[in-house]
């Protein structure tokens, strides 16, 4: 009975949603903000990847919030799992895994940093790169559970990276501008050193996301 009702409701939901969606102006978004950003961003921000401009400049505080959410999730998970008391994992992983992770670790690190640093130019950025970085550390942790990085290191990285993000924002504020106002020279569009403080911000983001995720995964793995 319950199941049949659920099914019916779900079907009803689908039909109704479709009916509603049919009225959407799909593919012809009004782009009230979008057009203006597309027009202004290259000149104003100087990042080739306009999404990055949006993420870090126009909606920079969203990104800060997002970092905070990750941080909150990690902290909360720490709080939740901290009570459990750590159970030591028995034994190390096999030879292949260890060797593989050893090989992968520098590779992943490099790729991660590349993605982070080129966030303002190409698709990618702090989040994506951060995840790769986290994966690098996690892989080595899986291979050698005993050689895990300490909580202290992770929390130091995540704390400092977050603080750096805010610090850059506050620096602008201290300089008489608005919070998170772009600093530094915009440079040439499409070059690595361009778009003002955006790469720095993305670096902070990348480190923070990496540390956050690494911490989260490590905690869950325990």
């Amino acid at each position: 009975m319950h199941r049949i009702a659920t099914l019916l409701f779900a079907l009803g939901l689908g039909v109704l949603l479709l009916g509603l969606a049919a009225q959407l102006p799909l593919g012809a978004t009004p782009m009230a903000i979008g057009n203006e950003i597309l027009a202004r961003a290259p000149g104003e921000i100087g990042a080739a990847n306009i999404v990055t401009s949006v993420v870090l400049a126009y909606r920079g505080i969203d990104t800060l919030g997002e970092l905070a959410i990750l941080f909150a999730a990690a902290t909360a998970a720490g709080l939740v799992l901290g009570h459990a008391g750590s159970r030591s994992r028995n034994g190390e992983a096999g030879f292949i895994l260890r060797t593989g992770s050893d090989l992968l670790f520098p590779l992943l690190l490099t790729v991660g940093f590349y993605i982070v640093l080129h966030g303002h130019l190409t698709p990618g950025g702090g989040f994506q790169g951060g995840v790769v970085l986290a994966a690098a550390f996690f892989a080595s942790f899986l291979a050698r559970p005993s050689h895990r990085p300490g909580h202290g290191v992770i929390s130091l990285i995540e704390g400092l990276a977050g603080a750096a993000f805010i610090g850059i924002g506050l620096a602008a504020l201290a300089g008489g501008g608005a919070f998170l106002q772009p600093l530094l020279d915009r440079g040439m569009l499409g070059e690595l050193v361009s778009a003002g403080s955006l790469p720095l911000l993305y670096l902070a983001v990348g480190l923070k996301v990496g540390a956050e995720l690494a911490g989260l995964l490590a905690q869950l793995a325990e």
């Binding site: 009230a32 903000i33 979008g34 901290g82 929390s155 130091l156 608005a178």
Partner: protein
């Protein structure tokens, strides 16, 4: 007024740095949080004094709205923003030793930062982000008691919140697809031509459900009772008090600015009524104090939504009166519940064990029921008057339900008062802080009663300012910095 952003980012910054700082000095980690909150509250008060209640904006990143994100601080927003750090200070969780304590402090700071942001932000998605941040922080805080039931309650909270946020996201998508904007002021501009259709209403419904989770709105408030019963009472107080009001503020802005249509109001009213009736009735049958308070909180927020659905500055004033009253009373009641944990039947004798607490409880109960001349009465009266003004079938039904439910409310509250004052061997937990906070609430309540004319003027001012959409739009989009 770029300093507006400081009360939001300073707590976040402190939260980020708290754990590293904790390794340096335990005392630093312990006191940094409250100190920062004090600073934030001071900053906000100073901003309020500087502006004198006139609305100001701050464009984040220096990008003029609607392209960038804007903070908008009118008197109402500032009031709510000040309420956040102040509530958090008063309800700061009991200091736990070690890492857990630091983490809790960090989460509190995150909660305060995001809460302040919710009060101030004028961008829909930014509101969503802060809302999510607040949600995640509250997950951690709610489960901090470390009992199995608290975890289960939190999981349920997570599931409902997750459902809510995905619906909210869908709502934002619907909204964005139609208007291409996220700025509330610009949405207000575009709303009459783009959103006056079923899709717009659907977007509103989605946002209502999404932001309604925290505001204990009817279909998404299932998490409330168990969470309040299992979480630490200060956290419950915080969630039921200021956090729910922040969510209400968001909905208020949406209703006033963007979705100012009779259909939207009707929807709000129906959901509010459902919450009111189910909450109060469930409270009537509740058998332990925290859940009773949780249910009654649901009921009162239902009343708040009914009030929120009333058009015009007068309706808004009614809603604000209910909201502020609840903001004051409910945390105080939860703090009293900290002393009186457990089954209602076992509270006999509590009145003799601590007369002050019982007296305060009675005072709050009287105000909640709406006994003149306590503030609760005037709040309820405003709502009822506005309902009677509407005089449509919905309004009159709502009027009748609000009145009927008040009887139920009086019954369960005073059944409890009767128990408190009956002879018994109850020993309450000694908690001077809880009593102090509740006493503060009581004092403010009485003060509000004594200065009723002034309070009512201020309330009318708040409401008319908040209802002034034209000013909001000009100030925000006119590039006023």
């Amino acid at each position: 007024m770029n300093a507006l952003v400081l009360p939001v980012v300073l707590p976040l910054l402190t939260a980020f740095l708290l754990q590293p700082a904790g390794r340096l000095s335990a005392a630093l980690a312990r006191w940094a949080g409250p100190a920062v909150l004090l600073v934030c509250a001071g900053l906000l008060v100073q901003i309020a004094l500087l502006t004198g209640g006139e609305p100001v904006t701050a464009a984040i990143g220096g990008f003029a709205p609607p392209v960038g994100i804007v903070f908008y601080a009118d008197a109402l927003a500032l009031l709510m923003a000040i309420a956040v750090p102040v509530s958090a200070l008063l309800l700061w969780p009991r200091a736990e030793a070690g890492e857990a304590g630091v983490r809790q402090s960090a989460l509190m700071l995150l909660l305060v930062g995001s809460g302040t942001g919710m009060a101030l932000s004028g961008d829909l998605f930014n509101l969503y982000v802060f809302y999510e941040l607040l949600t995640v922080a509250s997950f951690g805080l709610a489960s901090a008691t470390g009992t199995g039931r608290a975890y289960v309650a939190t999981v349920r909270y997570v599931l409902v919140s997750g459902f809510g946020s995905l619906i909210a996201l869908a709502g934002i998508a619907l909204l964005y697809a139609q208007t291409g904007s996220l700025n509330l002021a610009q949405l207000a501009d575009l709303a009459p031509e783009r959103l006056a259709n079923p899709l717009g209403l659907a977007a509103f419904a989605c946002l209502l459900i999404g932001f309604g989770v925290k505001a204990e709105l009817f279909p998404v408030n299932n998490w409330v009772p168990d969470l309040y019963a299992c979480a630490g009472k200060p956290i419950s107080a915080l969630l039921a008090g200021v956090v729910s009001k922040l969510a209400v503020l968001v909905l208020l802005r949406l209703t006033v600015l963007v979705f100012d249509s009779p259909e939207a109001r009707e929807m709000l009213m129906v959901l509010g009524l459902a919450g009111l009736v189910t909450g109060e009735l469930a409270a009537w049958r509740a058998r332990d104090l925290p859940r009773l308070l949780a249910y009654s909180s649901i009921g009162q927020l239902g009343l708040l939504f009914v009030a929120l659905s009333l058009p015009g500055p007068a309706g808004l004033a009614a809603a604000l009166a209910v909201a502020l009253h609840h903001l004051l009373v409910k945390p105080a009641l939860f703090m009293l519940a900290e002393r009186w944990h457990g089954s209602l039947d076992k509270l006999a004798g509590a009145g003799r064990a601590s007369p002050l607490a019982a007296g305060l409880f009675t005072l709050f109960a009287l105000s909640l029921v709406g006994v003149p001349p306590l503030p609760g009465f005037w709040a309820k009266l405003l709502v009822l008057l506005e309902l009677a003004r509407g005089a449509g079938p919905f309004d009159l039904t709502a009027l009748a339900l609000v009145l009927a439910v008040t009887v139920v409310e009086a019954h369960y509250l005073f059944r409890l008062v009767g128990i408190l004052y009956s002879p018994g061997e109850f020993r309450d937990r000694h908690s001077p802080r809880a009593l102090a906070v509740a006493g503060l609430g009581g004092a403010v309540l009485v003060a509000a009663m004594l200065t009723l004319p002034a309070v009512s003027d201020a309330l009318a001012g708040l409401a008319s300012q908040a209802a002034d959409t034209a000013a909001y739009r000009t100030l925000t989009l006119g590039g006023g910095l």
